[in-house]
């Protein structure tokens, strides 16, 4: 009996230790990633990186200014399209949704969220690039906005539903009608959560390269408008990293460090804003 108990205790300690090891191994990958990017990228991030155009391999002093501006252009445009649609759809789901139709929208939003980003890219290519006969920043923005819509809709819905019932009833009892209640009471009460969801959504799409590969394509120079092929940081990282040139690899590391820093900072800021304990939708 004691031998059996000793074995049970041993198994207990071993398995629990194994679980702890799993947790620390998985979490430490974040630090490994950060470490490698800092080690390889920090030396290549210079003023030139932010202010100069890309140069051919072998020439020193090139940067990715056009890709940084291009990324900002594409993401801002996508945000302007995607956030309002997602936000209002989220209000519909939380406040007005009937049974069947709201269930359908919710289900389809989750479905849209699960579609691989490369497939979204194909769609944007078919509806914008093919009719226009050229690649454009707009097509890239459209692809990214389609990824942003379901994320925003579902997170907005979730945070609206967390607003206590008593607040709605109080407003309605004072004689406000439903949309006034939503606009003046419910949305302001859920403001922090909704903002967090939006920032996380925008951070997520700004790191996407796959939907941009054949929509906004790439550009070695400044693009002059939304209907032109435009460089973006994620696509640049992909092209530089898979090239055969040593100095382009350094540029890829620098761009990777800058992109990761932006995305992680946005994430940390967003999650700091939110009240503790509320879980975020994926």
């Amino acid at each position: 009996m004691t031998a059996r108990n000793a074995r049970r205790k041993g198994v207990n300690i071993f398995m629990l230790g194994l679980c702890a090891a799993c947790a620390f191994v998985t979490v430490s990958t974040l630090f490994v990633i950060l470490g490698f990017l800092l080690y390889n990228g920090a030396t290549s991030v210079s003023l030139n990186f932010f202010t100069k155009l890309p140069l051919p391999p072998g020439q020193d002093g090139g940067g990715m200014a056009n890709a940084i501006v291009g990324s900002a252009q594409i993401v801002i445009m996508a945000t302007l399209i995607g956030l309002p649609i997602g936000f209002f759809a989220g209000i519909y789901l939380a406040e007005y949704g009937g049974k069947t139709f709201a269930f359908m929208v919710r289900y389809v939003a989750d479905l849209l969220n699960g579609i691989p980003s490369i497939v979204i890219g194909i769609f944007a290519w078919t509806v914008i690039v093919v009719p226009a006969h050229h690649f454009s920043a707009l097509a890239g923005s459209m692809a990214l906005s389609l990824m942003l819509i379901p994320i925003t809709a579902r997170s907005t819905e979730q945070f609206l539903l967390e607003v206590p019932r008593a607040m709605r009833e109080g407003s309605l009892a004072l004689g406000a009608n439903k949309w006034r209640t939503i606009a003046k009471v419910i949305v302001p009460a859920a403001r922090k959560g909704i903002m967090t969801g939006m920032i996380l959504g925008v951070a997520r799409i700004s790191g996407e390269a796959a939907p941009l590969l054949f929509t906004s394509l790439n550009n070695q120079y400044w693009s002059t408008g939304l209907s032109e092929p435009t460089a973006s940081l994620p696509v640049m990282i992909f092209l530089r990293a898979t090239s055969a040139y040593e100095d382009w690899h350094r540029q890829a590391w620098a761009a990777g460090l800058v992109l990761l820093a932006l995305v992680l900072l946005a994430n940390i800021a967003a999650r700091m804003v939110i009240s503790r304990g509320a879980s975020l939708p994926r």
């Binding site: 799993c22 990633i33 490698f36 490369i118 009608n177 949309w179």
Partner: protein, 322 residues
């Protein structure tokens, strides 16, 4: 008082005019935006179907089973890509499921609330790292590591198996699977952790009171209760892995052929679309790539549907959050 409350039965409107004020407008505006979500999704399916028609008409269902991918002779088959996608995703899950579930058990059962929250925060940051960054790191760290150290070491021991035979390039199925494993465990951890935390406290206490060790309680009383939720997280991770593009494209090796060896270079559906779409010339070539997109779309939809269902079922069952 009694009479006035009798006239205010549900359904009676005191001032009918007010119902046509802002409320109706707000309702329709939000309804329109909600409908956009439906329409866009339908449009995606429609466009994929439409633009893949030349390939579908030319090859029919043999497209799925054919091993030939030759743009020069206009012969296209999807099997090498489907095979590569499935092999890399399964490899990824073989690594990430044990790691992820183990970590989730630690976070929900063992760690203090403070530590658990801090670690979960880091895991969620890990999930936010862009795919192309994983690819960048994998190209310059994991690929040489596999080629020079891990690959030869594994081959020394298990080289007699066809799975580990052949030349080691560094890029290939196994490397892509490992990158995918790192990319998918954040999802497994955070969803499984929630499923485990939804298991009622009594479940643990009853097992411990019967004299079970903490591991026995976790394994026999808690895990079975959260089984569906954990399975859901696995399917969610699988759907992510199937559709993952950039990181895989950078380390898969880009060879449209089928190899038994896991060290051999291969190709996945998402990777071939990413690499060849802008270079594709000719209608058949392009539509074959779009049809691959359609196949990927169908695969992920089915897997995601199963995942959502499982997660909904567990969270309903274990409503008492610990």
């Amino acid at each position: 008082m009694a009479t006035s409350s009798a006239t205010l039965t549900p359904g009676t409107t005191i001032a009918p005019k007010r119902r046509f004020g802002g409320d109706e407008v707000a309702y329709f505006i939000t309804l329109i935006f909600a409908t956009v979500i439906l329409l866009v999704t339908v449009a995606i399916v429609w466009q994929l179907w439409l633009h893949s028609s030349p390939a579908r008409e030319k090859f029919g269902f043999s497209f799925l089973a054919s091993k030939l991918w030759n743009p020069v002779t206009d012969q296209f088959g999807a099997w090498p890509f489907i095979y590569g996608t499935l092999v890399t995703s399964v490899l990824a899950l073989l690594i990430s499921v044990p790691l992820g579930v183990g970590a989730a058990i630690y976070l929900s059962e063992l760690a203090t609330a403070k530590l658990s929250n801090a670690l979960t925060f880091l895991v969620e940051l890990l999930a936010a790292v862009p795919s192309v960054i994983y690819g960048l790191l994998a190209i310059f760290t994991l690929v040489p590591l596999m080629r020079d150290y891990v690959g030869p070491a594994v081959q020394n021991v298990l080289g007699f198996l066809p799975l580990f035979s052949g030349h080691i390039f560094g890029v290939g199925y196994l490397t892509a699977g490992m990158v995918l494993a790192i990319m998918t465990f954040p999802f497994i951890i955070s969803v499984s952790r929630e499923a485990l935390m939804a298991v009622p406290r009594e479940q643990r206490e009853a097992a411990l009171a019967l004299g079970a060790t903490q591991w026995e309680s976790t394994f026999n009383a808690v895990l079975p209760f959260a089984k569906l939720g954990i399975m859901g997280s696995v399917f969610l991770a699988l759907a992510r892995a199937l559709g993952e593009t950039m990181a895989v494209t950078m380390v898969i090796g880009n060879d449209p052929a089928i190899h038994t060896s896991l060290f051999a270079p291969g190709y996945t559906i998402a990777a071939v679309i990413a690499n060849e779409f802008t270079e594709a010339t000719g209608n058949t070539y392009l539509s074959a790539l779009v049809e691959l997109g359609l196949v990927l779309f169908a695969l992920t939809i089915v897997i995601n549907g199963v995942a959502q269902l499982m997660i909904v079922l567990t969270t309903k069952k274990g409503s008492a959050k610990a």
